[in-house]
């Protein structure tokens, strides 16, 4: 490939990093809060709620994400056509234009979010359950309400504990966005595959790989920095160093 070809290709590929990052960003934005809710539902003392949540998690973690993505794409027309579909749902879905671009994107996002929420839920549940009972008891006898206890005592400790596992999940998501190419949704993996015969070269795939590698690398650094910020002793030490510099600056 000539230098000119490479730079044209690079420009093209760069354009398609945007949809990839869109999938990544939106999935995180929705799946983390949803994961928190699912975790709380699974710990619900009312058993049927906990069972239903469990079935959802089992399905999401037990079947391939690729399959879920494809099912999501095909689901609406089949639901509308089926005999058991309730009337209000048919009316609701009947107006959906399944050929529109927003439909493809939204259904794909639903699949990504539901899948990742299940994984996050399990991480969060583990984090919440790992907090010793004594922390709740100590907060209780000090007069903290249940809500104060959760937000001031429990949650900060949970965040610190779930960060490493969540980071892992977030980095996996970077690479899982490539599954969208099979729908097909035009993101970087899709375009890379398409350009291989055009240029008769592996260069497009190599560039896509480089993009994922750099994206994941930057995230790794960022996440390890966040993890450090949440380690309390580190935060205190940084504060002290900052204070020291400030004091020296004054004198």
């Amino acid at each position: 490939m000539t230098g000119e070809q490479i730079s044209t290709l690079f420009g093209l590929m760069l354009e398609y990093t945007v949809p990839t990052m869109k999938i990544f960003g939106y999935t995180l934005l929705y799946s983390i809060p949803l994961g928190m809710i699912v975790a709380l539902l699974k710990m619900c003392r009312f058993k049927p709620v906990s069972w239903i949540t469990n079935v959802y998690i089992l399905i999401m973690r037990g079947t391939p994400l690729l399959l879920q993505l494809i099912v999501a794409q095909y689901s609406v027309p089949y639901i509308v056509k089926s005999d058991i579909c309730p009337e209000f749902l048919r009316n609701l879905l009947g107006g959906v234009d399944i050929r529109s671009e927003s439909y493809t994107f939204n259904m794909m996002l639903i699949a990504f979010v539901l899948n990742y929420a299940a994984y996050f839920a399990e991480i969060f549940r583990g984090g919440i359950e790992s907090i010793p009972k004594g922390q709740y008891e100590a907060a209780g006898v000090l007069g903290f309400s249940k809500i104060q206890t959760f937000f001031r005592i429990i949650l900060p400790q949970v965040v610190e504990r779930v960060l490493p596992a969540s980071s892992n999940e977030i980095i996996t998501l970077v690479k899982d966005t490539s599954l969208a190419s099979a729908i097909p949704y035009m993101e970087i993996m899709y375009i890379a595959k398409k350009q291989v015969p055009t240029y008769a070269s592996l260069m497009p795939l190599f560039m896509a790989g480089l993009f994922y590698f750099v994206f994941a690398g930057v995230l790794t650094l960022l996440l390890s920095l966040i993890e450090k910020c949440f380690s309390h002793t580190w935060r205190r030490n940084v504060k002290n160093i900052a204070k020291g510099i400030f004091r020296r600056g004054n004198t």
Partner: protein, 253 residues
């Protein structure tokens, strides 16, 4: 007037009855030591009085407020969450394994409840916390995290944390059982100081010599009952019942 009144307290876990019929009073300024063999229900009794466990029967009155009472129809009525909170602010509990909040500095551990629950000015709360820390000999540790302290230091912080709410009485659930003998001394010294200051305390302990020196009253429990309740002179003297003597013998030998 009794600051704590416990009447016919009982507690069962499923089919296992841990407390059978516990009644005692604690007067203002009194130091009560609760002793007895392991599994006799001492800690469960203390946890019921703090409503960390729900009692199965009986009444509890703390600082004149009903924590558990019976309705006219004989149904048990537990204090609602608002009343329970009020009671909990009047009492403090020090745990065997400290239960400090690991994500907060020592200072924050002490000031969080006054600032959040009592809505005190954080600055004032910090000043008071520093006074308490000085009293505990820990003024240099204000910015440390619990994980950076020894067990004895952590326990002293947890005592300071309980004192920050200015409770009318303090409960101790085996405060020295997680500590080695050397560190036990520092905690006992603090409790002795509190006793000298006139703090009302109920202490579940295995430190017999400490119970003898500090307590105004000793309660000996076994099998879910109070077997004997008396002054330390009587309990540790020659007039004690045979069961108490037999129990104490193991500590003397």
């Amino acid at each position: 007037m009794a600051i704590l009144e416990v009447r016919n307290l009982s507690k069962s876990f499923d089919k296992l009855t841990v407390l059978k019929d516990i009644s005692f009073n604690v007067e203002k300024g009194e130091v009560v030591a609760v002793i007895g063999p392991s599994g006799s229900g001492k800690s469960t009794m203390l946890r019921c009085v703090n409503q960390l466990e729900k009692a199965s029967g009986g009444t509890i009155k703390v600082c004149g407020i009903d924590m558990i009472r019976y309705s006219e129809k004989g149904k048990m009525i537990y204090a609602d969450s608002k009343t329970l909170r009020e009671i909990r602010l009047k009492t403090g509990l020090v745990f065997q394994n400290f239960n400090l909040f690991p994500h907060m500095t020592v200072l924050r551990n002490i000031t969080e409840a006054p600032a959040v629950v009592l809505k005190q000015n954080r600055h004032l709360a910090e000043e008071k916390a520093m006074e308490l820390l000085a009293k505990m000999g820990l003024e240099t540790k204000a910015q440390s995290y619990p994980s950076e302290l020894s067990g004895g230091q952590q326990q002293r912080v947890s005592i300071a944390r309980a004192l920050a709410l200015e409770p009318e009485m303090l409960f101790f659930d085996e405060p020295t059982s997680a500590l080695d003998p050397e560190l036990t001394g520092e905690i006992l010294k603090v409790i002795k100081q509190l006793a000298a200051d006139g703090m009302t305390m109920v202490i579940v302990t295995h430190e017999m010599s400490f119970a003898r020196d500090v307590a105004d009253k000793v309660i000996f429990m076994e099998g879910g009952y109070i077997v004997e309740e008396n002054t330390p002179e009587e309990i540790f003297g020659t007039n004690a019942s045979d069961r108490v003597k037999q129990f104490l013998q193991r500590f003397n030998s």
